[in-house]
Symmetry: C2
């Protein structure tokens, strides 16, 4: 009676969007339980991987709009995971630095996310997971550049 129309289930765009609903819920529930948001993880990850940077640069690395970076960095700074200092060499720029607590926070969030991946991919074998990841990566890369 409440079956999903074939028109929908046959379309990759539907599958991706709908699966993303579940994925987002898993991720944000898991993060919320730790008092965090997705934006926090993205920015911490960008910071850890390429080192201190301006807010604009962090936003570019983590695919976060610079206006949203402001609020997220505010929150991270208030929790002591990040330090915001004026860039001495560059007038208007802020220099964002990862604190030791921030690095630990990132590791904790990584553990949380690893668990989420497992819940998300549920019934898939290791081989299928790899195949899915590879295909998604190729499609995403195609849209990231164009």
């Amino acid at each position: 009676m409440d079956e999903i129309p074939r028109r929908l289930t046959a379309k990759p765009s539907w599958l991706i969007n709908q699966l993303s609903v579940h994925s987002r819920r898993l991720v944000s529930d898991a993060f919320a339980a730790a008092g965090a948001r997705g934006y926090h993880y993205r920015l911490l990850a960008a910071l850890h991987e390429s080192g201190p940077a301006s807010q604009a640069e962090l936003g570019r690395r983590g695919r976060v709009d610079r206006s949203d970076v402001v609020a997220a960095i505010n929150e991270l700074a208030a929790q002591g995971y990040v330090e915001r200092t004026p860039d001495p060499d560059h007038g208007r720029r802020n220099r964002i630095t990862l604190t030791p607590e921030g690095a630990r926070r990132l590791r904790d969030m990584d553990d949380v996310l690893d668990q989420v991946q497992d819940d998300l991919l549920g019934p898939l074998s290791a081989g299928d997971r790899e195949t899915l990841t590879r295909l998604l990566g190729r499609v995403l890369a195609h849209h990231e550049q164009g």
Copy 2:
């Protein structure tokens, strides 16, 4: 300089969510150009596939919250794609019916969506598309029941 951290690109949840951003944009841009929204298509599809139903039932079929169904049906009714009449057999229930214009609208939207699938899957071969669709379907089905 603005490279995406491996921590992100390696995670299926990131790939799915990020790809969903692109997918949603393609879909909603295409629909917007025709004066429609995603909810409209879902409800029309549910109507066409299983016949006239109450708003609550349509929402269940198309995975739309019942409070959001109200607004979408308002819009569809105002455009003449759907008719809302009180269910004679059932006091509080509304009976939603697809009009001939609604059926035509659905077909037009289908054409739009087919084009979107092509843009979305971009560089993938037919075989890869089939593999991706199958894997996504399995994962989604797993989350739809639990």
